[in-house]
């Protein structure tokens, strides 16, 4: 049990204890008042029957009858019925304290709530009666409570001497209340602190690097904010785990990608040692490999900058046609070696908001990729079209295309078609393009073009569609 548990426990317990004590004291005070009144008047069954007898005598035997009865009773060692009229005069002229009479009137009028109705208090009902006598007075009949020592031994006379501690503080119900509140406080504290403890443990293990902990099931079928917190944690752990995994994979691929040019470098150096006469060509190779590594490192840095979102896209209007024209100029020059022609189909000049150099880079990467995989003397088609609020830039090549299940993975870093042996580029270009396009609120997808007639021969190819929101 953690500290939180004890805190919850103590607070709940104190709150309940305060409530129980408060209610207890209030009830005790109210009861005490009642009891005080009741304590002055005897309410035992025998007293009640005496009062009933006196009432009957008064009703049917008149005042004289009652007086006779009282005189008869007076000779006996037993509690006495008193009859008091409106002026607080006792029938027999006995002295009765005003307090007792007041209590008797109070008892007579005592009402308690039973089943929503106000009824006479059962405990004291019949202990005091008020009778309209024939002489016109209304007599109050009651037996005053015994005073200690006033009677020889009331118990012997068939009276149940009630213990006089009824007005004392109610310890038994209070103890029960305290016990109950202890138990409920314990349960409530456990109910709150248990999921928090589970959460804490889950966080601790996540901090230790094991992101495969899930608390969803441990929460049982709770449906509250704590359960929501648990599922939020699960979601976080899943996302973080996936992210970490992809980072690890990337690192693995990076080291592998860096190794390939290093391996070639090593062999080129070996060749240079082996054949000093061919030093020049070996040095050219070494130069080429180090350039490749430099490019790779540069692209990786760019990708990591884009992925971490550090790069802030400065929004300025960019005219797509203008941008494409510069890209295509470069591509035409690049494609000359493989005799690739580039066809540009433009559908109106629109502008998008974004950063010129980044968008240029993204589209350039896509076009270069198309050139790289194009067959010699084929055609790359670049077209734009408007679709609702977007502009779509489509780059279609006539190369081998990619396997259907790899259409999405080509945008992951270091993907290289399983069919390809190209060593130019590092498979980072399309990943960079994707990051840039997404930073601009656009999408990029790839499709295989089933067949195309180019220069009277059938060819398949890959079509990459970039969709950007236009201004």
């Amino acid at each position: 049990m953690g500290r939180l548990y004890w805190k919850f426990f103590i607070f709940f317990f104190l709150a309940q204890l305060t409530a129980v004590t408060g209610v207890g004291v209030a009830v005790w005070i109210a009861n005490n008042k009642l009891e005080n009144a009741n304590a002055q008047i005897e309410a035992s069954p025998s007293a009640k029957s005496m009062v009933a007898a006196a009432a009957a005598t008064l009703k049917f035997g008149g005042v004289e009858g009652l007086q006779a009865l009282m005189q008869y009773w007076a000779q006996r060692p037993m509690p006495q019925v008193y009859a008091v009229d409106e002026q607080n005069m006792e029938l027999q002229g006995r002295a009765v304290s005003v307090d007792v009479i007041k209590s008797a009137r109070e008892v007579l009028s005592q009402r308690i709530a039973v089943d929503g109705e106000q009824k006479a208090n059962v405990l004291v009902r019949g202990a005091v009666q008020q009778i309209q006598a024939s002489d016109g007075h209304r007599y109050l009949l009651f037996v005053p409570a015994f005073q200690k020592g006033a009677m020889p031994n009331p118990r012997m006379l068939g009276f149940n001497a009630k213990p006089r501690n009824r007005h004392l503080f109610p310890f038994v119900p209070l103890l029960a209340g305290v016990l109950a509140s202890l138990i409920f406080a314990a349960i409530l504290a456990w109910y709150f602190s248990k999921p928090i403890k589970q959460l804490r443990q889950a966080f601790a293990s996540a901090a230790n690097g094991s992101l495969d902990v899930r608390i969803g099931t441990a929460m049982g079928n709770r449906h509250d904010e704590l359960a929501d917190l648990g599922s939020a944690f699960d979601l976080m752990a899943t996302r973080l785990g996936a992210l970490m995994q992809s980072q690890t994979r990337l690192l693995h691929q990076v080291s592998h990608e860096l190794r390939s040019p290093l391996a070639r470098l090593q062999i080129a150096v070996g060749l240079a040692r082996q054949q000093p006469d061919k030093l020049d060509s070996s040095l050219t190779r070494i130069e080429r490999e180090s350039e490749r590594m430099d490019n790779l490192v540069g692209e990786l840095l760019e990708l990591s900058r884009l992925e971490s979102g550090v790069m802030k896209v400065e929004k300025e209007p960019i005219y797509i046609d203008e941008l494409l024209t510069t890209v295509i100029e470069d591509a035409r020059f690049e494609g000359m070696a493989k005799k690739i022609t580039i066809q540009y189909e433009q559908a109106g000049d629109v502008s998008v908001l974004g950063q010129q150099d980044l968008l240029h880079r993204a589209i350039d990467n896509v076009v270069r990729n198309a050139l790289k995989y194009s067959e010699d003397e084929s055609q790359v088609v670049i077209s734009t079209m408007l679709k609702q609020d977007n502009i779509i830039i489509k780059v279609t090549d006539h190369g081998p295309g990619v396997a259907e299940n790899e259409l999405e993975t080509i945008f992951q870093p270091f993907y290289r078609g399983s069919e390809s042996h190209h060593k130019d580029g590092h498979g980072v270009g399309l990943a960079i393009a994707k990051q840039i396009i997404e930073a601009h609120g656009g999408t990029i997808i790839a499709n295989n073009v089933a067949s195309n007639v180019v220069n009277n021969h059938m060819a398949s190819g890959l079509s990459v569609e970039i969709s950007l929101p236009r201004v």
């Binding site: 080291s255 592998h256 070639r264 090593q266 150096v269 082996q274 069919e419 042996h421 060593k423």
Partner: protein
């Protein structure tokens, strides 16, 4: 001239390595993917195969498995430095040794030579060697033949070399360092499991002694011992 088959998807690397090996007087054939390589290994006989583990299509491990189905030709794997899983898996599948990639071509050639030298010792010590018999185990070094209880046992060349060394020193403990030097022609690296993997593989191929023990025993911290009767 000794023949080498290079299987690696890195076209430029293969070209350069081929050039290098040819100047070291090897006859070099190349394959740029595992499937082609395995097919070539099945059709022709090579003295040694150098195989890259990381390849698209049929990867190096699968290629090795295919090659081992019908051939005991010595195989050297090119593995990424620090990648122990591929290394051990390759050795278990019957590769003879590995060279980390990147490595200098000189190192690759040294490894190739070390393996080849031990595969053809019969030519050097012509007829001088006689058969070695330890219990149920019989070894004919000249023919590179091993039998267990009269049944021939198929071993890769490195496995054969290791077993021969142990049999020649039957009853004595041979350290892993010595085994590596004599069978692979190189010192043992730190945390190098090559010898252990090879010996575990030999144990699987040989039967048990009548008392249920393996004829090759591990001597903790020292090395291995071939039990003598």
């Amino acid at each position: 001239m000794q023949t080498v088959l290079l299987i690696d998807d890195d076209v430029e690397l293969v070209e350069m390595l081929k050039e290098y090996l040819e100047l070291e007087s090897f006859e070099v054939s190349v394959a740029h993917d595992g499937a082609t390589g395995a097919k070539m290994a099945a059709q022709q006989t090579f003295d040694i195969i150098v195989l890259d583990v990381m390849m698209p299509k049929l990867n190096g491990i699968d290629t090795l498995r295919t090659i081992r189905q019908h051939s005991n030709v010595p195989v050297i794997m090119l593995t990424a430095r620090g990648d122990n899983t591929d290394r051990i898996l390759g050795l278990e599948l019957g590769a003879d040794d590995y060279v980390p990639k990147p490595s200098t071509p000189r190192e690759i050639v040294a490894r190739i030579r070390a393996i080849l030298r031990r595969v053809k010792p019969a030519e050097e010590s012509n007829g001088a060697s006689t058969q070695i018999i330890v219990g149920a185990l019989a070894i004919w070094p000249a023919q590179r033949l091993v039998t267990w209880d009269g049944e021939p046992v198929t071993l890769t060349s490195t496995e054969f070399n290791l077993l021969e060394i142990l049999a020649k020193n039957a009853g004595q403990v041979v350290t892993k360092q010595d085994l590596s030097q004599q069978a692979l022609g190189r010192p043992l690296e730190r945390f190098d499991r090559t010898i252990d993997v090879h010996l575990s593989s030999i144990r699987h191929k040989l039967g048990l002694l009548p008392d249920g023990r393996h004829i090759i025993q591990t001597v903790f911290r020292l090395g291995y011992q071939l039990l003598k009767d």
